[in-house]
Amino acid sequence: MKALAKRFARDRIAVTGLAILGLLALAAILAPVLAPYPEDVATFHIERRLLPPSAEALMGTDRMGGDIFSRLLFGARATLTLTTVAVGAALLIGVPIGLIAGYYRNWASDALMRVSDVFLAVPQIVMAIAIGQTLGSSAENVILALSLTYWPFWARLVFAETRSMRNEIFVESAVALGASAWRVMVLHILPNIASAIIVRTAIGMGATMLTAATLGFLGLGVPPPAPEWGRMIAESRQYLPDAWWYSLAPGAAIFLTVLGFNLLGDGLRDILNARIRRRR
């Protein structure tokens, strides 16, 4: 474990990713303290609308006169919470399905995987939009739409990994010793495929965030006036190109967050793969 932490600290990619995400999480938690105008989340100041960046408003103001920097900080809360909960739910659906389908070899496990194929066959964004549109725009529905859209990614991965573990000698001996199927799956297989799941989760967080932002952009995300990055970009569209700062800040925020997750995922994959290779 200690060796692993050391490896991590030496991996510049993973550390950069973690640093970006750490700063963002800190900004989200401390939003009420850090934001120069925390009241701008819900109040309007039409007299200072669409002002370019200045000392008073670091990133300019939006069409309602709200301070974009303050709204961005509060938007980080919504985005990070939504993505984390949605990915958590997708993991809760996908991992057990993948484990069970991978462990047993019968028509039922084939059928489970075909169900995940069906979900994968619909373009994610279309599926998420359809669910979001059907259920109406609210934070809960965005989470539901995203988790229903993304669970097959984990199910497929866990399925493939479990299938390859199934033939390992340590699994066969556990079965031979009379361990129950649940015991083998949870205590023997799951810990050995955890690293693959972690890597996929880091990258999946980025993809899920992009879809969440797209839903917000199309007006199917968290309802106004709560600040949301995707919707901020949509609002800025009619003020381009004059109010260039309006779309720049939320777009850059999305970019940085997704980049953080991608870097973390890449770094983790290198570290964990190297560990597996060395062990063998």
Partner: protein, 334 residues
């Protein structure tokens, strides 16, 4: 599992997968909180008028009966009528398919050119400055929200600089319609103006779509090149004293590109997802903008038609890729 058994297994599951797709889409479209009959009849319509529309479209039947009807019609190629355009869905989709195919083809081509070239460069110069720069560039391309990239492109190249048109497929009247593909039509009718205009219009949407796909391809190609370079066969050729140039051009690139081709299913999925948003922002009259409009208007026949259409395309592409992959490399089909 032998190759034939794998193909048989995939083909056997093709129909149930399609059926599952239809079921999901059907369920989704029928729990809409808005009553489509009221929507269609208009705000001021009486209850009787709404009821007549309900009966006309079979919306008063039980859900199971509606589903059976739907399956029956779909098998005969009848996807119903759009609640908005009043056209058969199949006609609507067919009219818009060429625009999307044109865009998807252009984006695939650009993504393939950029992605494979950069991936080979990065793989051959592994762990050099070039490799690191390309690595940062690709991972950045994958982190940009496509809708934001589209808007910033429009803002910079169309509004600020005025170099490229803001949206649409072609300026003024399109060339006489022969195939529906503007590029082909312009070539057939020898309309140089339309061809030039179409090129200018397709550039920004193509770039927006192609960059994330190119980044994904570059990563796969790089891994393919590295795997090929460290394979025993290349070690052998090195030991035999073959020049590095020959080894790379004759063996390494072939193996690496093969690895990239088998990932085409993934690239196709990325493009299909991107098309939906990119078409909406650039007012590209294709399937993607049709889908968004239909969803926002609760035109569920159209949504089902679109989802079915893209779903079938994706399932078929994945089926072909699976079969191709098993044919190229039988080891993966265990």
């Amino acid at each position: 599992m032998s190759w034939l058994a794998l193909v048989a297994n995939r083909l056997f599951w093709f129909v149930p997968t399609l059926l599952g797709l239809l079921t999901i889409v059907f369920i989704l479209s029928r729990v809409v909180p808005v009553d489509p009959a009221v929507l269609m009849a208009g705000e001021n319509a009486s209850a009787e008028q709404a009821q007549r529309i309900r009966e006309q479209f079979g919306l008063d039947q039980p859900l199971i009966a509606q589903f059976v009807d739907y399956l029956h019609d779909t098998i005969r190629g009848d996807l119903g009528r759009s609640l908005y355009t009043q056209q058969p869905i199949l006609t609507d989709l067919a009219a818009r398919l060429p625009a999307t195919l044109e865009l998807a083809f252009a984006a695939s081509l650009v993504a393939l050119l950029i992605g494979v070239t950069l991936g080979i460069l990065a793989g051959l110069h592994r762990d050099t400055l070039l490799d690191h720069v390309l690595g940062i560039a690709t991972i950045s391309c994958m982190a940009v929200a496509p809708f934001w990239m589209a808007m910033e492109f429009q803002s910079l190249f169309s509004m600020d600089l005025g170099w490229l048109p803001l949206s649409g497929r072609v300026q003024g009247f399109p060339p006489a319609q022969v195939t529906g593909f503007i590029f082909l039509d312009a070539l057939i009718t020898a309309d140089a103006g339309a061809l030039w205009s179409a090129l200018q219009h397709i550039l920004l949407p193509t770039l927006t779509l192609a960059l994330p796909a190119a980044a994904t391809m570059a990563r796969f190609t790089r891994n393919g090149v590295i795997a090929a370079m460290s394979s025993p066969s290349v070690d052998y050729q090195m030991a035999m004293g073959l020049p590095r140039r020959v080894i790379i051009w004759k063996y390494v690139l072939r193996m690496a590109i093969m690895a990239t081709v088998t990932q085409f299913g993934l690239t196709f999925a990325i493009l299909l997802t991107g098309v939906v948003v990119v078409e909406t922002i650039f007012d590209w009259p294709g399937l993607g903008s049709y889908a968004i409009n239909s969803i926002l208007q609760s035109d569920y026949n159209a949504v089902m038609g679109f989802t079915l259409c893209t779903g079938v395309m994706l399932i078929t592409v994945n089926l072909l890729v699976d079969i191709l992959q098993a044919a190229i490399d039988p080891r993966g089909s265990a």
